[in-house]
């Protein structure tokens, strides 16, 4: 199995081959060979031994941001399918075209600060969401015109919902 992971420190290429002992792997990380012994203690919890160093790795199941907790640090990653990687990156980084404003958490819409057709600056507040007794202003990712507002004051939103689109 060979795969690429987008991580904070850049792209990592991992090759993984299971040995005869099902807990033993021969692996390469960016071409560097390592022998890994891995036991899945329970779902999401791995005990790794690499060169007699012991590690506890905990997988945070999260559709948007799968994350491995290791030694008190969070490592969020994304599986890069080699065939689609370039396209996705280009898409994510472009500032042209319509850009959504997404809810970063579930909550209730308290106020909508801009209407369809309004001109907004980058980082101008567009929608105010309340959750857990705190209000949070969600801001425009770019300067442009509000092309769409999908929520109304009083409504409920889920994390990841598109609240508005700025062109």
């Amino acid at each position: 199995m060979k795969l690429q992971l987008e991580m904070a420190g850049g792209l990592r290429t991992i090759e993984l081959e299971r040995g005869e002992d099902p807990h033993q792997y021969r692996a390469t990380v960016d071409g560097l060979e390592v022998a890994v012994e891995a036991h899945l203690l329970r779902p999401g919890v791995l005990s790794l031994i690499i060169d007699n160093r012991a590690y506890r790795a905990v997988l945070e199941d999260h559709a948007e941001e799968p994350t491995v907790h290791l030694g008190g640090q969070r490592h969020t990653y994304r599986i890069a399918d080699p065939r689609s990687l370039k396209g996705r990156r280009a898409h994510a980084q472009g500032s042209d075209g319509p850009r959504p404003i997404k809810a970063s958490m579930p909550g209730r819409v308290v106020r909508v600060l801009a209407q369809r057709g309004d001109t907004v600056e980058a980082n101008q507040g567009v929608v105010v969401i309340e959750a857990m007794k705190m209000q949070n202003e969600l801001k425009s990712p770019k300067a442009g015109v509000v092309a769409e507002v999908r929520v109304v004051a009083g409504g409920t939103v889920a994390a990841g919902d598109v609240l508005a689109v700025v062109e």
Partner: protein
């Protein structure tokens, strides 16, 4: 002692009170909103009653419903926990009229000490040092100018009914007073239904020190040492500890005795806390009284060896305090972290949602008071506190080390938490040297974070790949469900759920 009580709260504090009741042989009645049906405080109660929809105003603040349930179940007393109805004198009075014991002070004592202005008047009667300033609500901007002139800028505007930093404004110069006065009034009106604000001298770089009190209904009142809660963000406590690194026996006794005087003058009973500011010259100033059990009560429990909820129940049942002031022994050091569902890397945005993974810390000296479990959906409707992680050790240095060890063991997945922030604070030289005041955390947060060592990313990448490998090709024998014929029966019955 009571046979049965109702717990008018949710989350970790409801569970903590249930545990105390179980230990004392008291049956418990839990109440819950629709957002909390699957909460642990419902699971662990003896009886459970639905209050209403998720919003607190339609559930946990419905004193009328709660009293009805108490009557219906034969609960002899109501424990309000903290927040919600706990400092609502009207509710306490309704309990008194219904003949159901409110586990806290009388409504009368709560009225005297619950309003900040009225409490300042009581402090004067008890000859207790307080910040210079007014002891009644300001009636006009002119009165505000006059008081500020007398006590000198900088000053603080505060809501008399306030809490949590709402309706509070620091004013450095005369020019800013009018605008601050008006906005504080309107914020106080919105938050508390009362626009009463008053002025006091702003103490610079104060420490927040508070005294835990217990008073029985026979005139006995003791102080259980102090807690230091100077690590705050936006006037909200983040870390609490006992004892304070800067409070010695003499100062402790002076503050404790002042707090006891105030409580006795007001006819206070049950558990309560008197909050003070302490300046750099060790002068202390009365701040306010919290007429209830506090979030941070465990640090006092750990250094005194007592159980404050047990004692609240005994006091409410009319028993005398089982010890005297001289018998209170303080030993060791305790520190508490308030673990919140929020994202410190992203403006402290709240982070409700499903906890997809949970590893909880344990072992020597670690106490976790929590109301969460793996799979629980943290509702968006309430305070974002997930749990309180508390370490006890012989010294402050060891309590910090122990807390860091426990934070390393603690994993919460699926939502964001402020665990990383605690790691940063507990490793900060300023905190370790106890150089803290109420502005400490804001200063720390304004500094850039040091880059973390990044060599573990290789291992994390490997782990991610192996997790994926397991998911794609599960080879470990899963735990076998009982071969108990369920599927067979379900098929035969044509069951569709």
């Amino acid at each position: 002692m009571f046979q049965k009580i109702l717990i008018a709260n949710r989350g970790e504090i409801a569970l903590r009170i249930e545990r105390a009741c179980r230990e004392l042989g008291i049956a418990t009645v839990a109440v819950y909103s629709d957002a909390d049906r699957a909460a642990l405080h419902v699971l662990e109660a003896d009886e459970a009653f639905r209050l209403g929809p998720a919003p607190a105003a339609e559930s946990y603040l419905r004193g009328d419903l709660i009293l009805d349930i108490a009557r219906q179940t034969g609960a002899q007393a109501i424990h309000p926990g903290y927040g919600f109805l706990s400092e609502n004198a009207g509710f306490a009075e309704a309990c008194e009229k219904a003949g159901i014991k409110f586990i806290g002070p009388t409504s009368q004592a709560m009225r005297i000490l619950g309003s900040k202005t009225s409490a300042r008047q009581a402090a004067d009667r008890a000859a207790m040092p307080r910040t210079p300033g007014s002891t009644r609500g300001l009636e006009s901007i002119e009165e505000a100018y006059a008081v500020a002139e007398e006590i000198r800028y900088p000053v603080m505007l505060k809501a008399a009914a306030g809490g949590g930093g709402k309706g509070m404004r620091a004013v450095m110069r005369k020019e800013d007073l009018k605008g601050a006065f008006e906005s504080a009034q309107s914020e106080a009106e919105r938050a508390f239904g009362s626009s009463e604000v008053y002025l006091e001298k702003l103490i610079e770089q104060p420490r927040h020190i508070e005294i835990q009190l217990l008073a029985d209904e026979h005139g006995n009142c003791v102080y259980l040492g102090e807690r230091e809660c100077s690590v705050q963000r936006r006037h909200q406590k983040v870390i609490e500890e006992a004892p304070s690194a800067v409070v010695g026996p003499a100062l402790r006794q002076r503050m404790g005795e002042a707090a006891v005087r105030l409580a006795q003058a007001a006819g206070y009973t049950n558990a309560g806390t008197v909050e003070f500011l302490l300046d750099s010259e060790q002068n202390f100033y009365f701040l306010e009284v919290n007429t209830r059990l506090q979030v941070e009560h465990p640090v006092t429990e750990l250094v005194t060896g007592l159980d404050l909820v047990h004692l609240q129940l005994h006091i409410a049942a009319g028993e005398p305090l089982p010890f005297t002031q001289q018998e209170v022994q303080l030993r060791g050091h305790a520190i508490e972290c308030r673990v919140y569902a929020e994202d410190p890397d992203n403006g402290f945005f709240p982070s409700p949602g499903r906890i997809t993974r949970l590893l909880q810390p344990g072992g020597p000296g670690i106490r976790e008071d929590s109301g969460i479990y793996e799979g629980w959906v943290v509702p968006m409707d309430y305070d974002p506190m997930l749990s309180k992680l508390i370490a006890y050790a012989p010294t402050r240095e060891l309590a910090i080390a122990r807390l860091l060890r426990a934070i390393d063991e603690y994993v919460v997945g699926g939502i964001r938490t402020n665990l990383g922030l605690f790691r940063r604070i507990l490793n900060d030289a300023g905190f370790r040297n106890a150089e803290i005041d109420t502005g400490y955390l804001d200063r720390l947060l304004s500094q850039a974070t040091a880059a973390e060592e990044g060599n573990s990313e290789d291992v994390a990448a490997l782990a991610a790949a192996i997790f994926g490998h397991h998911r794609a090709t599960p080879t470990l024998a899963p735990i076998q469900p009982p071969e108990s014929g369920w599927k067979h029966i379900a098929r035969r019955e044509g069951l569709r759920g």
